[in-house]
Amino acid sequence: MKRLVVGAHYGLMDWLAQRVTAIFMAAYTLIVFAATLLGGVASSREAWHAFMANGFIRYLTFLFIVSLCYHAWVGVRDIWMDYVQPAAIRVTLHMLTLFALVGYAGWAVQIIWRL
């Protein structure tokens, strides 16, 4: 049996995930932008804190963070797959990317969850 440590058998799933996370993040961006422009949520630190501490916004922000990290994982992994051929180096870069993104996700979620 031929075993591969790298490959693209998960292509369709990731292609779809890239689109779904992109659509969610675009919608979130427009919501926050509209709230800034029309609701003045960035006019003061207190207003910004209250906005981000709102339960529904926090829920959306949590989904945004998860979407961003998944989206970045697929995108950065594609860059490594395109330019780095040696399997050992590529897998190492994949792992470093994953560690970084999972850590960022934990850090960012912790910021919004203690508000």
């Binding site: 675009a26 910004w48 804190h49 970045a72």
Partner: protein
């Protein structure tokens, strides 16, 4: 063998001689902007943290960091990266559903991505730099 088939091999690509269509450059910039955003994620999360710090120390730290010229320049670059990635992403999603697939439309939409993302960077960037 006819002479026109006997081409010199191997053939190496001269990258500086390749003339890409505008959509090709927009596509490369989509990748570059995505990579830049990924590399600067720690800075952005740190700024989010400082912006939500309830203490006076946090507020002072946030102001100090945002007042730093290097940080401003990086954020200006990231602003363009985000806007380009955003606009180009919408273009990709539209092409996925068969909108704007024709050659002329694809060229126009690539031009629109470049122009809109740069214009928005100018408008929002002036705000970032405190011009208004």
């Amino acid at each position: 063998m006819p002479p026109e088939i006997a081409k010199p091999r191997p053939k190496y690509l001269a990258l500086h001689q390749i003339r890409l269509p505008l959509a090709g450059y927009a596509s490369i910039l989509h990748r570059v902007s995505g990579a830049g955003l990924f590399l600067m994620l720690p800075l952005l999360i740190w700024l989010l943290q400082l912006s939500l710090e309830p203490t006076a120390d946090g507020a002072a730290m946030f102001s100090a960091v945002m007042g730093n010229l290097l940080v401003k320049l990086i954020l200006l670059g990231l602003l363009w990266a985000f806007l380009h990635h955003f606009c180009m992403g919408i273009r990709i999603l539209l092409i996925d559903v068969q909108i704007g697939v024709e050659k002329q439309q694809a060229h126009s939409s690539a031009m629109a991505v470049m122009v809109v993302s740069l214009a928005l960077t100018l408008i929002l960037g002036l705000k970032l730099l405190g011009a208004y």
